[in-house]
Amino acid sequence: MNVQQSITVRGKERYKSGVMEYKRMGYWEPNYEPKDTDVIALFRVTPQDGVDPTEACAAVAGESSTATWTVVWTDRLTAAEKYRAKCYRVDPVPNSPGSYFAYIAYDLDLFEPGSISNLTASIIGNVFGFKPLKALRLEDMRLPTAYVKTFQGPATGIVVERERLDKFGRPLLGATVKPKLGLSGRNYGRVVYEALKGGLDFTKDDENINSQPFMHWRERFLYCMEAVNRAQAATGEIKGTYLNVTAATMEDMYERAEFAHELGSNIVMIDLVIGYTAIQSMAKWARRNNMILHLHRAGHSTYTRQRNHGVSFRVIAKWMRLAGVDHIHAGTVVGKLEGDPNTTRGYYDICREDFNPMKLEHGVFFDQNWASLNKLMPVASGGIHAGQMHQLLDLLGEDVVLQFGGGTIGHPRGIQAGATANRVALEAMILARNEGRDYVHEGPEILAKAAQTCTPLREALDVWKDVTFNYESTDAPDFVPTPSMAV
């Protein structure tokens, strides 16, 4: 939109009882220049038919900060102008008639230091159900350094995680134990042992493995730690298994986490569905107890996937880096779950870089300085296999956990063979990349050559050679002409 003037009503008139448009109440300030200390949110606003876009965007600013539906005189007891969120820019969304990007600045004093719950209660609170809007999506946030510094950040971080595990220079390898449900503790531990001994660094509980009739949590933890220690002795390498401590109450979670700690586990896991406060509690617990904290983003697609309504995953990734988890599932691009390459790249940058420059083609709308907050290890999981190793390394880089669940356990010659196939494929690809080879194009050749001295890899390549998941993404950046597709 062009140069515009503020239409805010000032003085006595502003506080006359009755209803006033949000854009006239001070929530639309087109000349406002955001301060370095402001929190900025970018919303995709789709007003109901007939609602003025500027008014709709001002309403989002109002309802996510100080406003209610009518004028209240008690505003006059406060420094109301400071506390009002200010929508300062409204742009039409490219190729999406009827939707607008609203840039809204919030004063830092609106937020309790170090609390994701407090931040989200404002930013994604009431406002998402506001009737004059058809749909609303939180696309991105700029978190000022002063605010970032009030958070602990990842309990361990990529660098220290690698140091503790003594694993450098290559992605880490993991697998989720399958079947997700039904295995007894004893059988479950068998899968863990085989996968770790075969060459994986980690195994993982699935999101819905907690404590069920077929396997109570203590059984799982005891057998898993037997498997981890056995595999460590068999290989001379540090191994780990993400013990899911997700439970009904904080007390239960602490009890499970303490038990994992007592058994010598180096990592525990939680699900996103436990909520922001519980996540932050567990992050603090993990820091105190030298534990790596894995987060499974269970439930996120209910609000991240659709482009017009909800919260973008890039925002969730930012919140989780602040909240302090060490691992987060961030997409595979080539696997079975939603993930446009450019958008996914944006998520990975948010997890791993100390500074994210604005990059619209990756869906990153703001410069973001992380102020030396620890780096968060992205995890790629869901429908990936050894034959894609060159693509995975190219798209996701080196600081990532590649999790091949089916791609390990479904190997025709067993779990160890599956694990070995993945590890050999990975090491061969890293070797070739470091030698300066064009590994993206020569990938299949590099894998075929490695398979000459590794039967399990040859078998894996034969079984899964044609498996791809090429579907158009529902969540692609707005600033590329056509949605990109994984190849």
Partner: protein, 141 residues
């Protein structure tokens, strides 16, 4: 057994040509290359002995290969690893590490279990090689 620490343990042992290529990769990244050796490859043995200081100012992998050859002449019966160290802000740590020399026989590790209450088990991993004093561990090879 085969100790699988490091970046390339699942591949056939690297040739000198391959090692030089990896070393050059490190140097091109501006990382300092370090040579370390040990006769106790216990997974928690972080501090292998250093073969001199990390080579901070080197630009050509040939210098590293010469140091590696010297190290092998003295400690050819032990594990030797090469690592690349990145001193840039936000990392200040190892960026790659891989084994370039192994003893002919790798005896591996024993896992001891001490049963405790509630089916809890205390685990301890012992290097078979470390039964002998340091320096005498692969003497009969």
């Amino acid at each position: 057994m085969r100790v699988t620490q490091g970046c390339f343990s699942f591949l056939p042992d690297l040739t000198d040509e391959q090692i030089a290529a990896q070393a050059q990769y490190c140097l091109d990244k501006g990382w300092a290359v370090n040579i370390e050796f040990t006769d106790d490859p216990h997974p928690r043995n972080t501090y292998w002995d250093m073969w001199g200081l990390p080579m901070f100012d080197l630009r050509d992998a040939a210098g590293i290969m010469k140091e590696l050859a010297d190290c092998r002449r003295v400690y050819g019966d032990r594990y030797i690893r090469i690592s690349g160290f990145d001193s840039s802000h936000g990392w200040e740590s190892v960026r790659i590490s891989f084994i370039v020399n192994r003893p002919r026989e790798e005896p591996g590790f024993r896992l001891d279990r001490q049963e405790a209450a509630g089916r809890n088990v205390r685990y301890a991993t012992y290097s078979y090689a470390a039964v002998r004093p340091e320096g005498e561990r692969y003497a009969d090879q």
